[in-house]
Amino acid sequence: MPKHIVSGLKYLESVELRKRGLSQKEISSQIGVDRSTISHYLNGRNISMDSIELAKTILELSPKDFILITKVLFGDYKEIRQIVTIFNMNHYDPQINDGCIGCGLCVDLCEMKAINLDSLKAKINPRYCCGCLMCVENCPTKSIEILEVKNG
């Protein structure tokens, strides 16, 4: 079953990237699926409607649930980053206050590997922040704030 969900998500990724004007070749190299499969996806072949429906439901989950499920499905953080950056339209402005003790718990928890420690203080790369707030929930000193940036 996980394979079907993955192909549903890959299908949606292909369609989304196609909408953005990427060629089949570019889509293939970006999401790591061979060109013939991309071609099948884009022509609506060899993919069950149930898988697509399920993938669509997953896309509607909260950022935290979404990243946890993609972690289970893909495992590799590069793939997680890929799918999150394609579908996550929101932007976040992470802020770390001086209460940060540099324990690195957020670094270890972040599935997007968006956080590193810089001189005993956490630093979050907004480009990869998916807004799951797991770092905020687990920070022992409540030193992280993730602000959502409104588009437009």
Partner: protein, 366 residues
Amino acid sequence: MVNVKEIEGKDFNIKRSAEEDRILSFKDHVCIGCGLCEATCPVEAIALDEVAPIERKYTETYFSGHEKIAQNYALFKNDNEVKAKLCIDESKCVLCGMCSGVCPAGALDLTIGGVSIKENEAYPTLIASAEIDEDKCLFCKKCEAACPRASITIDRTLPNRADLVTGEIEVCEDDCIYCGACAELCPAEAIVVDKTTGEESIVIDKEKCVYCLVCKKACPVNAIKAVCRSCSYGEYDLDPAKAAITGNAIIDKETCIKCGWCEGVCPADAATVKQAFKGTLEIDEEKCGTCGACIDVCPCNVLSFPKSSGPGDRGTHLVKEEDYCIHCGACAKACPNGALTVTRTDIDYTPTSSKSWIAAFEALKN
């Protein structure tokens, strides 16, 4: 992200595995029971045992007047596995390393990817040191005796006694009657006389002889001749290289707490100690119940009862050697009457950009 606690006797490691493993290690024999870690921990994961006497063998005698402490001691005694001085709740610990940063004894150490935070420039570290300059050291071993933590080893080599002797003794066997008086009197047991009839002999061990001339003076027949190597032949002198005491002065960095006793007792100014905390230690004699709990816990042998002849004989009042106090506060924590006040006025540590770490170090001042 679950921490794993590995316990080995009274020592333990708390480990968080990720891309880089974080390991907080605790060594009970190094811990001085001061409780600075407990006060600093930002997540309240650390609990210091109520009483942490270093010499628990004295506890019963010293603490007998105090019900609470006596009960605690009973727990220690009845527990087959004596408790460690410190307990860290691994489910609360976030492995930030602040406890390791403020620990004046180095009993707690956080490593990230196998490297101690003491080696990491981003982290502040208490500046304290103890060194013995071997070029100046006379290897007298006074520091070894004074060190309250038994952290110093003086490994010395003395010159050969024979190299320091300026003469030799010779026996004229034609005159010797093998009476053995010389052998009996010799303080160095350098003479052996065999009186076996027909096989009489006298042998002087030149390695042992100290050229004191007692044998010559005692010989009833004047058979012993003394030859001074430094005058008769005019060519013998002590070789300074052979007469020198050589050695090594080794400080065990793990247990040394930089109290300064070695510097204080050194006759050659070879030991240099730098303490991390400056402050004061005050004794309120009105409140002091002369129970000796502070003496038991003090890692620096700063406190004592001057008239005490040992455990049980409590003396009348507490005295301090404040020069050697590292102001860790272990005594104040152990005192059941609040008779001791330790105040830290200055803390020397390496700079950091982290405001929360600076705040944690500054909070040690009181």
